[in-house]
Symmetry: C2
Subunit: 197 residues, 2 copies
């Protein structure tokens, strides 16, 4: 941010710009994401935009950060709530929360996951993964049979990445052969089978 907005008026301008950025991204795609277009969609002049954002990329960063923060919050909240429950139930609930979070804005997810060439995007996704992975690691380490073969750190890496991709592809590709409940069932089977193998 180049300058912090001080009055309520300018705070709303910044909000409008970010919202317009999100909208332009969804409606027109990444290639059409130009500062002029974002400014127009926000009902703001290009000059005003540059009072608060140093460059085009920084607008994109805010949009991306907010999006992944939303997803991460929903998943982490669900996971933290059920930290005491039995394995399979917890896996199912977490997967459910992840799928739901990704379903919330499928259009934006598509652009963010398949179209954005920005490094910041990967960083933000990595933050989500790490957050979940750490929770899973501590859970696995506390298991009674934690001496078993896959070490908690490795096992959580495997489980989180596998589930993440399944959820992502399911939401974006909507394979006709796999219903939502079936997906969650298979995810539970995958994780349970792996941990008990």
């Amino acid at each position: 941010m180049r300058k912090a907005p001080q009055q309520a008026r300018s705070r709303e301008t910044v909000e409008r710009i970010v919202a317009a950025g999100r909208q332009v991204l969804v409606a027109d795609g990444y290639d059409a994401f130009s500062t002029n277009r974002v400014a127009a969609a926000a009902g703001v002049s290009p000059g005003s935009l540059y009072q608060y954002f140093p460059d085009k990329a920084s607008i994109l960063e805010v949009v991306i950060d907010r999006y992944w923060a939303e997803v991460a919050d929903r998943v982490a909240a669900s996971l933290a709530d059920r930290i005491g429950e039995a394995g399979p139930a917890m896996v199912r609930a977490t997967a459910d929360a992840l799928v739901a979070a990704l379903e919330a804005d499928r259009a934006l997810l598509r652009v963010v996951a398949e179209e954005l060439p920005v490094q910041r995007n990967r960083e933000r996704r990595a933050v989500l993964e790490r957050r979940v992975r750490e929770l899973v690691t501590t859970y696995l380490a506390a298991r009674p049979d934690s001496s078993r073969r896959p070490s908690p750190a490795v096992a959580s890496w495997i489980v989180v990445l596998a589930i993440e991709n399944l959820a992502l592809r399911w939401v974006l590709d909507q394979p006709g052969t796999v219903g939502r409940d079936a997906l969650l069932d298979e995810m539970v089977a995958l994780v349970s089978g792996y941990l008990l193998a």
Copy 2:
């Protein structure tokens, strides 16, 4: 392609352009992938470039197509070779082939997987997935206990997507806690545990 090269001279020009495209992509990233830059890297004038390629995107497409075709060929070849072997050995060999194929050009993989906003990229990756998934589906359908819960189509979808992401992330992120052999071990455990669950 706008025009097919007829003489050996022009065939080599086209090759140089494609190679330069690949190199520019790796060295400078997607944002710097301009026709002028590719032409310069190929030691060719922009005009010559447009004799054979209708536009910038088509150059990118050729580069992407070739890359995923390389990966798909290696994986499919390995899988076809071992179609008769026992489950775990086949899983391990296939995962090994996939990881090896992705490791072959890590720099290009990074750009292709994390930076390219092109639709064509997803299409090509989907082709690879489908090829492998069909082989896996027929294998699963032929199993003695094929009446078991995960239907072959669903099971292969799950297995392929999970393994794919693990291989991709392992190659790109190189997590220190997971060695190459350990990765393959865990992949086998994941798949076996799931199918026998």
